[in-house]
């Protein structure tokens, strides 16, 4: 089972796969591997030769002090980094065994296969709740009943359906911050990605909403490979299976979350997770 990225059109096989994928059956997840990945802003080397695997159906947390390149690394995975003028990427990102940066790959297909949730909830301000979630599927031509079903499914997956089902036509920005972030998660999974990237998804939220997002992450990993950037050490410890620690653009250490937090190999990791610098 591979993900086709080179074209907009789906093959029947793919459609079938997506159909099964969208149903209740649990799909086998997809692995993302970074091979000697480097990223620049103009001359600034922000990510330095990172090798890292994100395991299928696992939550991987990326931690590290501010400015160490976590967001940049994340944005390289779905090729959003290149949207900033003057940036450059070297090395490889593989989704299963497809190289995402090869010439034959369609960047829009990459982004549909690898969804993203941003730090600040950013629903489209002029759109209703429904339209926010429908925006993605509409891009690939989903309409009518299929669309409604897809929106409902995404909102259910994002644990938001019961709260909004009676006001789908009201503006998305009328929701609370936590609800908006879940709306954004619904929007990200509405295009049925294989991988979901989250850049500090709860840092703008109150503790209760944060917990809901963490519970949601726990549920979502049954269907997606999840990468989550966080500043919150407890959050990383609670929500992730694997943790990667970055410092100054380099990957210092990655391993099972428990190990990273209790007996890391590197002394710098130890200092960071015990709060000695940051």
């Amino acid at each position: 089972m591979t993900v086709s990225l080179s074209t907009h059109a789906e093959t029947p096989l793919e459609q079938k796969r997506r159909f099964e994928h969208g149903g209740t059956t649990m799909a086998a997840g997809h692995r993302v591997s970074l091979k000697n990945l480097s990223a620049w802003y103009e001359d600034q080397h922000a990510v330095k030769g990172v090798d890292l695997d994100f395991e299928p159906n696992k939550v991987t947390a990326i931690i590290g002090p501010s400015g160490c390149g976590k967001s940049t690394l994340l944005r390289c995975i779905n090729r959003m980094h290149e949207e900033i003028p003057g940036t450059r990427v070297e090395g490889e990102v593989l989704l299963d065994d497809q190289a995402l940066y090869s010439d034959a790959v369609d960047v829009t297909a990459v982004r549909r296969a690898i969804g993203m949730v941003f730090q600040k909830p950013n629903p489209f301000p002029t759109m209703s709740i429904f339209d926010n979630v429908a925006a993605g599927p509409r891009l690939s031509g989903t309409k009518g009943g299929d669309l409604r079903e897809r929106v409902e499914r995404s909102l259910r997956s994002a644990a938001l359906w019961d709260e909004v089902k009676d006001r789908l036509n009201q503006p998305g920005i009328g929701l609370s911050g936590g609800q908006q972030q879940r709306l954004c998660i619904a929007r990200a999974i509405s295009v049925e990605p294989e991988v979901v990237l989250m850049d500090e998804p709860a840092s703008a939220l109150d503790p209760a909403s944060t917990l809901r997002i963490e519970e949601l992450v726990e549920e979502l990993k049954t269907r997606y490979t999840i990468v989550i950037v966080t500043h919150n050490m407890q959050q990383a410890a609670r929500a992730s299976d694997t943790t990667a620690f970055m410092l100054d653009g380099e990957l210092i250490e990655a391993g099972p979350t428990e190990k990273i937090f209790t007996k890391p190999d590197d002394e710098r990791t130890e200092r960071y997770v015990s709060g000695k610098f940051g």
């Binding site: 959003m80 003028p85 549909r112 969804g115 941003f118 489209f124 002029t126």
Partner: protein
């Protein structure tokens, strides 16, 4: 709170001397005076125009003057409908052609063109606004009218089934040419405002669209255009205001025929053009003069209405953001 405020006002060093507050007070008085002066001026304009136009309104009625389809100087009959219609047609053509081009230009400059070309392109677009309108008019007369005539004839022949556009025999100067000149003239202002509005679209929304797998055009459609729609409408309204009021360029290319043209490529007249053309000869004919001033008043009201509409749209936009 209250205690500390009292302490501050008691401590001599923090109390401002009356002298130090003087510049502030002076500034406020001057600005208030200016604001009042502007409002007074507008009110005065309006009243003065009305007084001067009274003879025309008395003879033909306000309604009759504005909506009678008969403007004949030799018979001293003045109904401004042909001029109102001409004004509206040319302004509509200007919007239909100018606004999409302005939006496209703004999109190109903000989203598509290489960053290095952005500055020069913006300056060139803005420079269009610096060309004197008489130059546009002359260019219309000597270049657009002769060069476009065959093309216009071709279009009207091909579209013969559409009323008002098809099946015409093209007059040199006509509504369409007038509208086209106006479209070029409103381009800089509409494009500049649209550009500003688009620059305020948060990067968050653009990235959200791109991260869903939107192409550049789809990103523009899902993130940029909905967010800027109200602002663009406001920009179009301001352009419309300018198109309605523009005088000399239109006078040169409209044909100056005081009747309602039978099709888009027919000669016509506009309110502003009639005033510019006939004011000299009207000096010795009080009713003609009054009619021209009444035409000015109609133009004034039309422009005010358009600007008020623009304001409503722009306010709604700020309420949204």
């Amino acid at each position: 709170m209250a205690a500390s405020a009292a302490a501050i006002s008691q401590s001599g060093s923090l109390r401002g001397s009356p002298l130090s507050r003087l510049p502030d007070r002076a500034l406020r008085i001057v600005l208030t005076a200016l604001a009042v002066a502007i409002l007074t001026l507008i009110a005065f304009f309006f009243i003065r125009l009305y007084v001067e136009a009274r003879p025309a309104f008395a003879r033909f009625g306000v309604f009759g003057f504005t909506f009678n389809n008969d403007w004949d100087v030799s018979r001293n009959v003045f109904g401004a409908l042909p001029l109102v219609v001409g004004t509206l047609i040319t302004a509509a053509v200007a919007l239909i052609i100018g606004v999409p081009v302005a939006i496209a230009a703004a999109l190109f400059v903000t989203e598509l063109c290489p960053r290095r070309a952005r500055g020069p392109l913006t300056i060139m677009l803005d420079l269009l606004a610096a060309v004197p309108s008489v130059v546009y008019g002359l260019w219309g007369v000597f270049v657009l009218i002769p060069k476009l005539k065959p093309a216009e004839q071709w279009v009207t022949d091909k579209l013969h089934f559409i009323p008002f556009i098809g099946g015409a025999s093209v007059a040199g100067p006509n509504y369409f040419i007038g509208g086209l000149i106006l479209a070029i003239m409103i381009l800089p202002i509409v494009s500049a405002i649209t550009r500003e509005v688009m620059a305020t679209v948060p990067a968050d929304h653009k990235e959200a669209a791109l991260a869903l797998g939107a192409t550049r055009w789809e990103m523009i459609r899902t993130a940029i255009l909905p967010y800027s729609r109200a602002g663009i409408t406001g920009a179009a309204m301001l352009g419309l205001g300018r198109a309605i009021g523009e005088t000399i360029a239109v006078t040169l290319v409209i044909g100056n025929a005081p009747r309602i043209g039978s099709h888009l490529f027919d000669q016509g007249y506009t309110l502003a053009a009639v005033i510019a053309n006939e004011f000299g000869e009207a000096a010795n004919n009080p009713i003609h003069r009054a009619a021209l001033i009444a035409a000015g008043l109609v133009l004034f009201v039309l422009t005010l209405l358009v600007n008020a509409a623009a304001r409503v749209f722009i306010n709604r936009r700020t309420a949204l953001a």
